[in-house]
C-alpha cells in the first residue's frame, strides 16, 4: 500500500470510528503499521476534525482515538523499530485539536477531553494535579458574575501563541472551556424565561431539527448513540483500574506482577479497617458453618 492509499483508507477508518476499545485500538494499530507514511496520515486526522460536516460525536471519538494512538505509540516504541511515531505531531497540534473537538459554545465533549487529557499527562510526565483540582472547582470571578448579570456572552476562546508546552497550553484551554460552560449555564439560568407550558422533547433537549444542516445541535439518534458511546468509554476508563500487563514470552506468573500488583499495592490495615475486616469475616464464618453438616467450630 503506498502512502496515498494508506491515507485514504485511514481517513475512511476515522470517519467510521466507534468508541469501542477494539475499534480504537485497531485504528491506532493501522496508523502505527503505516507510520512511515506519517506525513500523509497525520493530516487526515486534522482534516476530519476540521471538517464541518463531521458530527461532534465522531470528533469526540477521534479525540479518544488520539489518546489510544499516543498510548500505543509509546508501547510500540519499546521496540527499536519504532521511534515514537505521531507523538511529536500530535502533541504540537493538541491545542488546535482540542478547539476542534470543543467548538464555540458547544461543550458536550468537555468531560471526555478532560479524561483523555488526564491520561495523556501521565505519558508526557506533566503533573496535572493542579489542573484537575481547578477543573473541578467553581472558577467564576466576581467580574464574571457581574458580566453574567449584564447578559454579556462569554468571550470567544481563541488559540494564543503562548510558547508554553502544548500540553500545558491545552490544559489552560480546557480550564477556560470549563469556565465558559459554567458561565453560560448561569447566564442561561438568569436570563431565560421559566416555561410553565408542556415542553416538547424537541425543545427540552434542544434536538436538532431535521432541516437544520449546520450541525451545532444533536439529533435524537445522535444523543442516544452518544449515551451508548459514553457508556463504552466509561467501561474503558474502568478497565485501567484492573489491567495487569504480563510479558508475552513467560508462560507463568512473574515476580514483577507480585511486586507491582501485590507487594506495592497492599498495606497493613489500620485499626479501623481491621475491625471492619474481622466483622466481615465473622459474618462469613456463619455462612461457612452453615455449609457443613457437622459442627466444625
Amino acid at each position: 500500500m503506498d502512502s496515498f492509499e494508506a491515507a485514504t483508507q485511514f481517513s475512511q477508518i476515522l470517519r467510521n470510528l466507534t468508541p469501542a476499545v477494539q475499534n480504537l485500538t485497531r485504528a491506532a494499530h493501522f496508523a502505527l503499521k503505516h507510520s512511515d507514511s506519517e506525513d500523509y496520515l497525520f493530516p487526515s486526522i486534522l482534516d476530519i476534525l476540521n471538517d464541518p460536516s463531521v458530527e461532534l460525536n465522531t470528533k469526540s471519538t477521534v479525540f479518544q482515538f488520539i489518546e489510544v494512538l499516543i498510548n500505543e505509540s509509546f508501547y510500540y516504541s519499546r521496540q527499536p523499530k519504532f521511534n515514537y511515531p505521531y507523538i511529536q505531531n500530535l502533541k504540537t497540534s493538541l491545542p488546535k485539536i482540542m478547539l476542534a473537538v470543543l467548538p464555540t459554545t458547544s461543550n458536550t465533549n468537555i468531560y471526555n477531553v478532560y479524561t483523555s487529557l488526564k491520561n495523556l499527562s501521565k505519558h508526557f510526565k506533566v503533573d496535572c494535579c493542579e489542573f484537575v483540582e481547578r477543573f473541578n472547582l467553581d472558577s467564576l470571578t466576581d467580574e464574571d458574575r457581574a458580566h453574567i448579570d449584564q447578559d454579556i456572552p462569554f468571550p470567544e476562546i481563541r488559540l494564543e501563541d503562548s510558547g508554553e508546552d502544548p500540553l500545558v497550553e491545552s490544559w489552560g484551554l480546557l480550564l477556560r472551556k470549563k469556565k465558559q460552560s459554567q458561565y453560560e449555564r448561569l447566564r442561561l439560568l438568569k436570563h431565560s424565561e421559566v416555561s410553565r407550558d408542556t415542553v416538547e422533547e424537541q425543545d427540552l433537549f434542544s434536538l436538532r431539527d431535521k432541516n437544520d444542516k449546520a450541525g451545532e445541535l444533536l439529533s435524537k439518534r445522535q444523543i442516544i448513540s452518544r449515551m451508548e458511546d459514553d457508556r463504552e468509554a466509561h467501561k474503558r476508563s474502568k478497565e485501567n483500574l484492573w489491567v495487569v500487563l504480563r510479558p508475552k514470552d513467560v508462560n507463568f506468573i512473574t515476580e514483577e506482577e507480585f511486586l507491582k500488583h501485590y507487594w506495592s499495592k497492599t498495606h497493613a490495615m489500620t485499626k479501623k479497617q481491621e475491625d471492619a475486616f474481622l466483622e466481615t469475616v465473622e459474618e462469613l464464618n456463619k455462612l461457612v458453618a452453615g455449609s457443613y453438616k457437622d459442627k466444625q467450630f
Binding site: 467501561k235 515476580e255 501485590y262 465473622e282 459474618e283 452453615g290 457437622d294
Partner: protein
C-alpha cells in the same frame, strides 16, 4: 450447625431441597391443579472432601477420572492464556477455576470424541472448553472486570486456533465445522448461544451465591495472603513464596472445601514452617536486609483472635497444601522459583514437605461424621445431580444461609 435446623419445620435442613412440594412457595401450583415442581435451596458453598468424592462419583465415570484431570489442567492453562491476553487480574482466573470445578460437581463430565451421528445443539454445551468460557465470562462479571462476551470468544478461539466463521456448525467445537448439520449458525454464534444457556445453568449451580466464600466481601486468596503477610510483618521474599503457593492452590478443589481466609492463613503457616531461604527473587527491598524472626512470627499467630479463622479449617487446608506439593511438586509454579535440591538438607524439595507433614500428624481436622456413610450422602438432596427442568417448568429459589430468617417467616405464613 447440625443436620437439624433450629426451627421445627420439616424439610429445611441446611440447603436441602424441598422438591415437588409447593408449600414453600406462595404460587407453587398452577391453575390446572397440578403441582409445579418447586425447589428451595440454601447455598452451601463449601463441601467436605467426602462430599466432593461422592459428588464426583456421580458425575465422572471411573474410566474418565484420568481424562477429567488431564483435561482440567489443559483447560486451566487455556483459561490462564485468556486471562493473560485480556490482561485480567488473577482473581478472575481464580474465580473461573472455582466455577469450572463447581460445574462438574453437578454435571456429568462428557468428553466424547466428536460423533457425527449424534450431533445436536447441546453438543457444544458439553464441551469442557465452552464450559470454561462460560466460567470466565461469569467470573469477569462477578469480579467487576467486564468484557464483552465477543471479546472473550475472539481471544479464546484464537488461542485454540479455531475458525469462528465456519458455518453449519454441529457440535463439540474442537475442530470447527463439519457438514451435514441442520444448524446454519457460524461457530461463533453457536458458541455464544451455548454460553448463554450454560451461564444460566452455572448460576443455578452456584446457587446465585455471589459471595461464594470470597468475592466482594473478601479479596481472593492471592490478595488476601499478601494482606495477611503485611499484617504479620513478613518480608518480601517470604511473602512472594506464599504468593506462589496461593497461585498453585487456586487451581485445586481446596477452594470448594475451605473459605479463602482459612486457606490464606494455612499458606502462611506452611511457608513460615518451611523457612524458605532459597527462593530466587530479582528485587530485594531494603527492609528485607534486616533479619526477621520467622519462628517468632509463627509462634505469635492466633488463628481465631487475629484472623477469625476456625482452626480445624486451617488445619485441613495445611494438610491439603502439603499433600499437594508432595504429589505434584513437579507441576507447580513454586518449583520454577526454588532450586530442585534443598541446599541445607541436600535432598529434593519434596522431602521438606513430607517431613513437615509428619510433624503435623496430630492436627485436629474437620469433622466429617455425617459425610462418611454413603447412605447419608445419598439422602442429602443438595448433593443430587441438579435438575435444570425444575427452574424451567416450576420455580427454583436460592438463598444464603444467613438470610434464612426471612425465609422462616414465610413458612410460618404458610402454616397458618
Amino acid at each position: 450447625m447440625s443436620v437439624k435446623t433450629p426451627n421445627t419445620h420439616p424439610g429445611i435442613s441446611p440447603g436441602v431441597v424441598d422438591s415437588s412440594k409447593s408449600n414453600l412457595t406462595p404460587n407453587g401450583s398452577n391453575l390446572s391443579g397440578k403441582p409445579r415442581p418447586s425447589v428451595t435451596q440454601i447455598s452451601r458453598p463449601f463441601f467436605t472432601s467426602s462430599e466432593l468424592s461422592y459428588l464426583h462419583s456421580q458425575t465422572i465415570a471411573d474410566s474418565k477420572k484420568l481424562v477429567f484431570t488431564q483435561r482440567k489442567h489443559q483447560i486451566f492453562q487455556f483459561v490462564f492464556q485468556i486471562v493473560k491476553a485480556l490482561k485480567f487480574p488473577l482473581r478472575v482466573l481464580s474465580t473461573s477455576m472455582n466455577y469450572y470445578q463447581r460445574f462438574y460437581l453437578f454435571n456429568k463430565f462428557e468428553d466424547e470424541e466428536k460423533d457425527e451421528s449424534t450431533s445436536d445443539d447441546n453438543e457444544l454445551e458439553k464441551d469442557p472448553y465452552v464450559v470454561a468460557l462460560t466460567c470466565v465470562f461469569l467470573a469477569t462479571k462477578n469480579e467487576d472486570c467486564i468484557k464483552k462476551l465477543r471479546d472473550i470468544q475472539v481471544v479464546a478461539n484464537k488461542i485454540r486456533d479455531i475458525d469462528e466463521t465456519s458455518k453449519g456448525h454441529n457440535g463439540s467445537g474442537s475442530n470447527g465445522a463439519s457438514g451435514g448439520s441442520r444448524n446454519s449458525d457460524s461457530l461463533a454464534e453457536a458458541q455464544r448461544k451455548a454460553i448463554m444457556s450454560l451461564e444460566f445453568k452455572l448460576l443455578q449451580l452456584i446457587k446465585f451465591d455471589f459471595i461464594n466464600g470470597t468475592v466482594l466481601t473478601l479479596d481472593s486468596i492471592d490478595s488476601l495472603t499478601i494482606q495477611f503477610c503485611k499484617k504479620l510483618g513478613i518480608n518480601y521474599k517470604i511473602s512472594m513464596f506464599s504468593w506462589l503457593i496461593a497461585f498453585d492452590i487456586m487451581s485445586t478443589p481446596l477452594c470448594l472445601m475451605i473459605p479463602s481466609h482459612c486457606i490464606s492463613l494455612a499458606i502462611i503457616i506452611v511457608t513460615l514452617n518451611l523457612k524458605p531461604s532459597q527462593i530466587t527473587t530479582k528485587f530485594t527491598p531494603v527492609e528485607d536486609l534486616s533479619e526477621v524472626n520467622l519462628e517468632e512470627i509463627l509462634e505469635g499467630i492466633d488463628c481465631y483472635e487475629q484472623f477469625r479463622c476456625p482452626e480445624p479449617l486451617v488445619n485441613e487446608a495445611i494438610i491439603y497444601i502439603l499433600d499437594y506439593y508432595i504429589h505434584q511438586m513437579n507441576y507447580s509454579i513454586l518449583n520454577e522459583y526454588i532450586p530442585a535440591i534443598d541446599e541445607e538438607t541436600g535432598k529434593e524439595q519434596v522431602f521438606k514437605f513430607m517431613e513437615l507433614k509428619s510433624r503435623f500428624n496430630d492436627l485436629t481436622k474437620m469433622n466429617q461424621k455425617s459425610c462418611l456413610k454413603r447412605q447419608l450422602l445419598e439422602s442429602d438432596e443438595y448433593l443430587k445431580v441438579w435438575d435444570y427442568s425444575v427452574a424451567m417448568k416450576g420455580s427454583a429459589r436460592f438463598m444464603l444461609s444467613n438470610k434464612r430468617r426471612r425465609f422462616s417467616e414465610e413458612i410460618d405464613l404458610e402454616a397458618v
